[in-house]
């Protein structure tokens, strides 16, 4: 009898510990969002977005341009790779190696992507420190995520649709192009939004490939110009530039977090609606 009671007490204690773990993980997230929203939103003003030194307009535009170009480069490569894995590959050593490579690509430290981008795009391809070099570097960084989310979307398409198409005499490519891809498209786009949301918050890969700090000439004129971006702006204002008003820093941090979390939210909502509206 004694033994049973103590086992139950142990269980209560242990479960309380597990609840505590969960609380410790949740609370800081809420804390970060509340603190940034409170101090950041109150510091945000039209002046700060519109003009003047440390206006947020240029870094916001720069971030959008960078992220859009990243998506444009990563999407065709990632989706094609996912189509190969989901529709064409037949398992075996090659696929095993590809998956290992994807895991490793996802695990390469972001600053090492920065070094690679510097050596390949900035120096060897002579893009210089530019929007283009930064987007190429970030495209590589998000490629594993684009591949895995796209592959998942493709695999969600039921095999019966493929078989029906093939049975009607369509070739494999026609089946992929007309049946599988259109059905997987919403899922693929959700994954893409998630991926470029990740790119929007990255700093280390663009430190030496794209980002710069300038008060006089903040907007790029071509793909080969360096750009202002929110994460780098926040980093520079916090660590290197003296005498930046605290309100400006908080507002920058808030806008950055809002953009990144906003993109994630869009992806989450899309994913939820997708589950609800599936026809099969």
């Amino acid at each position: 009898m004694m033994r049973v009671v103590s086992a139950q007490n142990t269980e209560k204690l242990a479960f309380a510990g597990l609840w505590l773990c969960a609380a410790i993980v949740i609370l800081p997230v809420l804390g970060i969002i509340v603190v940034l929203a409170w101090r950041g939103a109150s510091a945000l003003s039209w002046d700060l977005i519109g003009g003047g030194p440390h206006s947020l307009l240029a870094p916001i535009v720069g971030t959008i341009l960078l992220v859009a170009l990243t998506g444009l480069i990563a999407a065709p490569l990632g989706v094609a790779a996912a189509v190969y894995l989901s529709e064409y590959s037949r398992g075996g050593t090659l696929v095993r190696l590809i998956r290992l490579a994807i895991v490793n690509l996802a695990g390469v430290p972001s600053v090492v992507y920065g070094l690679f981008g510097l050596a390949l795009f900035v120096v060897l391809f002579q893009f210089g420190r530019s929007l283009l070099a930064g987007a190429c570097t970030l495209a590589l960084l998000v490629l594993p995520l684009v591949i895995s989310t796209s592959e998942e979307a493709l695999r969600q398409v039921p095999g019966s649709l493929r078989h029906a198409s093939l049975a009607l005499g369509a070739s494999q490519w026609q089946t992929v192009r007309r049946v599988v891809l259109p059905n997987a498209l919403p899922g693929i786009i959700t994954g893409l939004i998630l991926s470029i949301g990740r790119a929007a918050g990255e700093t280390a890969p663009i430190l030496f490939t794209a980002a710069f700090y300038s008060l006089t000439d903040p907007f790029p004129n071509s793909l080969l110009d360096p750009i202002l971006v929110l994460p780098y702006q926040l980093f520079v204002m916090t660590t290197e530039v003296p005498n930046v008003a605290p309100a400006t820093k908080w507002a920058t941090a808030f806008v950055l977090l809002a953009i990144v979390l906003g993109m994630n939210l869009v992806a989450v909502i899309l994913r939820a609606r997708l589950r609800g509206s599936r026809r099969w």
Binding site: V35, A204, L256, V260
Partner: protein
């Protein structure tokens, strides 16, 4: 009949798709090749073991310049070990909670929250650490400076937790229901079932989750650059956690902007990048093998 042009077009597209399929392999090899190419001059100039990896002095701009990586390697080790001490118990606890005992409403809150945790940009963590948390901790514990190794560990822990939670949770969920039910039917409490049956059965997945959390922590850059004080010195025993240090990643980020292209300094920073790449490659590969041997969980 389909025209031969259509056939040629189709052949072209399918070849492109096959090429895209192996792109991941090509990129991993390319990254390795480019790091190696720009790191090699350093290995030629310095004695690799005593001067480079084992050297105690990182003074890239003094005359003569010294490129001893040991302080940076130890810096990374301190911050990472500290992060794991916090993140592994919390992450595993959280995963067990979500997979085994959380009521559904709690699960609905927890899973998106952990995803948000993963989405917060590292520069935002650094910003908060530098402006708020660091000064506050220094005040409370009477530290001389609000930028120190343990602060980096604390923030990194929260960046590693989402990785640990999501992979561990998958592993726990993959434990066959029959095992759980048999244990409960034998009269074990839910906690006894978790400790003696479920966790041992999911062991490989939990180890892999911790390894991937480790890789994530070693590679993190901006947060540690901003909050650990930027001091490339040898950390001293346990006190080192409360003093400024500098990691490998932070060194690359801090110094590459000033290193002239092709200089010894430039190549030395690529050598650090190469060391980082090799470390994370090994950890990720081992984690992948562990997971696959366990059979099933996709990382």
């Amino acid at each position: 009949m389909r025209s031969s042009i259509a056939r040629a077009w189709e052949w072209l597209i399918e070849s492109a798709i096959r090429l895209a399929g192996v792109l991941a392999i090509i990129f991993v090899l390319l990254i390795f090749a480019f790091l190696l190419r720009d790191a090699l001059p350093t290995f030629a100039e310095q004695t690799p073991l005593s001067g480079l990896l084992g050297g105690h002095e990182w003074r890239p701009t003094s005359e003569p310049a010294q490129f001893g990586m040991l302080p940076l390697i130890l810096g990374s080790l301190y911050v990472t070990v500290g992060a794991l001490v916090i993140a592994v118990p919390l992450g595993l606890g959280c995963a067990i909670f979500v997979a085994e005992i959380a009521p559904p409403w709690m699960r609905e809150i927890l899973k998106p929250t952990v995803e948000v945790l993963a989405a917060i940009p590292s520069v935002v963590y650094g910003f908060l650490g530098l402006l708020m948390i660091g000064p506050w901790l220094a005040d409370v514990f009477g530290l001389p400076i609000g930028q120190f190794a343990a602060l980096g560990s604390l923030l990194l822990a929260f960046m590693a937790i989402p990785t640990i939670v999501s992979i561990s949770e998958d592993a726990l969920r993959n434990v066959p229901v029959a095992l759980r039910d048999s244990s409960l039917a034998l009269g074990a409490t839910r906690w006894q079932t978790i400790v003696r049956v479920i966790v041992p059965a999911a062991r490989s997945g939990l180890i892999a989750a911790s390894l991937l959390g480790l890789a994530r922590a070693i590679g993190e850059t901006m947060t540690v650059l901003m909050v650990t004080g930027n001091a490339p010195v040898m950390p001293r025993a346990l006190l080192g956690f409360l003093r400024p240090i500098r990691t490998m990643t932070a060194t690359i980020a801090a110094e590459m902007g000033e290193a002239a292209h092709g200089s010894s300094h430039y190549h030395a920073l690529f050598a650090i990048g190469l060391v980082l790449f090799v470390i994370t490659f090994l950890i990720n590969t081992v984690a992948d093998v562990v997971v696959r041997r366990a059979g099933g969980v996709q990382t």
